[in-house]
Symmetry: D3
Subunit: 217 residues, 6 copies
């Protein structure tokens, strides 16, 4: 019997992000557990920032999910593009990282905060949280107001994340923090240490859930 | 460096339940992953059915959590007894299986149903769901109306679970099912197959989340 | 100055549905008011029934909205496909008929019911209602369980709508009814007469709102 | 057959307000559409500011609605006085401007803000929003803290509205603004232009809905 | 110093109801406690059944509250007519029996049920419960479908109340029952005994709260 | 027949707090009403500040409730420790002061604020308010940030309470204030006078409700 496989799809076409996912997920790749494969969506835009970016990858993701025979899929973008249409297209579990990031935070503490890249994505996130019926436990969401490029490479990213995380914790009352982007994972541990509350990387959270679903299937 | 360890505590004193947990969690024990240890709470009652049973194990659980040096704890009773007091007593993650069971169902489908052992525990579960702020996605909860002993040993348990699960799915609109008890795990796969929707064993769900937290720490 | 124009887009490619819209909207085409133009989306499927149908027309709708210079747009499908991505693409108002249908019902009575074509679309509608934050006033949603073809042509459609509407009113407590489909308009008046409560055709509701927005701009 | 008629009732006895309504509604009076008639409630107080003002006009409004034979009624005060008792007294549609203002904002954007005249009316508005079940989409409500007289005649009114509207948009996250008073209509267009988000005059919103109801009856 | 006084106003003009209140409240009239005086509103209709009945007594109640110098007021009708306008008119506490009945039930059990006189009043009650923000703990509301006259005098009233109460308890899950009318008090004890859960008479609940407010002032 | 009795249990072992309760409740001890007896829980910690303090007194309270034959019980700690387990152990009514304090505030005004002793207890209170389903009417909760000892004896306590109460009223919009601690009663009247809105002492509120339950039994 062949080894089971979790397919993590980066819906943007930035290979550096995919490599970052790969590295962030290594601790979850157990010798006798499912293989974790990260894939770049060829049709994706360079970054997913607008609603058009989100909606434009839904059908390409659906086709990918239908074409691949992984045991579980993870859509690695904090807007969960195409989540429902992908679920419709396969009997295998499909996980969205925004959903899993928030749900995992809720398993750790009562009220959660979210660090967003930019102010304008917060509106989309709030609408999505309302759809998920999870607003009652939101302490707050605050933006870094940095570009994706800056957060990926910039020196000051961690400092800025700590500053925003402290506001979420001290002003808004967050007891756990969700990093609202697929590309922040390498700062997770430092941020958690600085803030003293659980910090959740959403892709790690989703792959953890996928791992359980595949191992127990 | 010693191997990491997830301690799963069965708060009732029924060793057969603990052995059942042990078996149910084997698929999550990876060769190079954390050790998963199941433990019976010596001070626990034979079964946890009343509010006194729930509240009576809170402080014993707290003491156990303070005394043990596991990397994460799982409280394996669907009432999540002592969850907050245990969290207060340790810097390590503490997971409740009811919370994790429901949150994991929410990562798989929009609305979930719960199979309870008995009608009278549903009140307590509803109050807890309201505390968790997750009522908006509850499709319904329905009881087996069997004793814990019956569900553990009885022949007809699976049939009854399928019947109740069908009502949750077809009448209440549940798209995922949570098994509302720590002792139903061995029926999970058959039930999922019969119902055609994801079925979540709450202890497996909690240990999966603990696995992620420990692996990524 | 040229006459103002409301563009009503039927996202499925069934011209008969578009002609039905045209007829249903005639009472709102005032001599000195905006022109109401109904258009079939060339890229649309023959009917919009699945999530793939919904998500598949989002980007084609966006391109249409960007290409046309109407003063307001109405997306005439009860799943409001592409609503947010279309809004992002134009400064002109874009209305979704599901949203407008429900909001118009709320302007007439306290609790509303929805007549759906099929059971399986109810899940999508409920998720959308939760996103809209309007669940608190939902009395219930019930399906006709007829095919779109049947509802379009069938003799018994009105009878079935009356039966379902009565259940919504008498069992669920609905005080206004939303017809959960773009193709039921010709039965609106008869249904309202039979039920004795306001019955809202969602396309008419959306075009009414568009009419106001355009007239007052 | 005689021309259809929408009766807009100003529940205060200030004729200047009624004339303002008349002017604000002119764009909705189509040549072949329903006549829009604005009427001052003789029994009304000079302005509606207190709860006694609100409750004191309920029964006079009921009697007016029973006595007049309009095809639809609009109660033009942002507290929707007498709305339910008027509905009980006639089979014709009765619209409240607060309800319609908010519902129309919800058809344009995800979260709305309200500009109130005074702080003390905000409490009443919040209680009413809770009754309507629409709190989940409220971004915020902020007062001008001007008297009705000042807002009606004052030079600085628009400037103050823009300042308050900016706070609603930038601090509270409102994506559409409802003017929380029947007498602000003449500033709607300038305010919308200044803020760059839809601004809803509630009387115009209610008359638009009435127009649809009458045209489609 | 003169004895303190709680004024209980029966907003209908049926003196028999007022006498019934008087009797029901006797156990709360302590020798050294406030005097409890029941008064019939002269301007009230014979029974309060319609929205016009409710709204028609608001201003008469306001005038009464302004004219009398009681230390606290209780409005003894399960629609809480005029509650807010009365509060505006006096610095003394004003209690509504619907509000106090529900709040008192919530102090006794998690979820409550309401026995209404008639189906049609349930709509008004639900809208009011939503305004109070207390829907989350409502198990259900069911009607006796008897006239006020029947409930006042009829032999079978208690039997019917027990039957409806059992449905609320067993089908809807109510753990406490509110009697949704000012005229049912004499059945409270028998009903409580028959159902085995707390049964709240709303006027007694409101006068209890008034007693506390007056004694502690 | 012996005099009826309300047993008020102070779950901490600080006798000074118990004596304070005794004094605060004197106005509710009517000559021909139930006796009000305050009792210190021998097993209680000196103060209840942590979750362990709360959970540690649950079973001792249960045993006390089972052993005593009072006609009603009041648990006099603002975390309502052991409330549900005590209710399970007796057929007599058991009241929690947090629950009763909030419910009594809701009978007086639309939105309430809470004065907490310390910031860290606010998290527990918010979780409990969510469980009670009463968040929709919370204006805010703010801490004194004083120790229990300071609040009990300190000179500046009232001044600090007035300052915090003003923020709740003026910034958060609270129209009634709940004192979030069993030991603040002697400041209730002065605080109410200074703030101009109802101020609720939670123990007085609970004993008032107990008084009604016992008198009417």
């Amino acid at each position: 019997m062949s080894r089971r496989r979790i397919l993590v799809v980066n819906p943007n076409s930035n290979e550096a992000v995919t490599r970052g996912l790969d590295e962030a997920l290594r601790p979850l790749a157990f010798a006798d557990g499912p293989e974790i494969v990260c894939r770049t969506l060829a049709e994706g835009p360079y970054g997913i920032e607008s609603q058009a970016d989100v909606d434009g990858v839904a059908m390409p993701l659906r086709r990918l999910v239908e074409a691949e025979d992984a045991d579980a899929f993870v859509i690695a973008c904090y807007s969960d593009p195409g989540l429902h249409v992908c679920r419709e297209g396969t009997a295998r579990p499909v996980f969205g990282i925004a959903e899993c990031g928030v749900l995992t935070a809720l398993a750790r503490a009562d009220r959660f905060g979210v660090i967003a890249i930019r102010q304008k994505s917060i509106r989309r996130h709030l609408r999505y949280l309302r759809q998920m019926g999870l607003m009652d436990r939101l302490a707050g969401e605050r933006p870094l107001e940095m570009s994706v490029a800056q957060t990926a490479s910039g020196e000051g990213t961690l400092d800025r994340m700590i500053a925003v995380g402290r506001e979420l914790k001290e002003i808004d009352g967050a007891e756990a923090i969700v990093m609202g982007c697929a590309g922040m994972a390498r700062h997770r541990r430092s941020l958690e240490e600085a803030l003293g509350v659980p910090v959740i990387d959403p892709t790690q959270a989703a792959v953890t859930m996928a791992l359980g679903a595949v191992a127990l299937a």
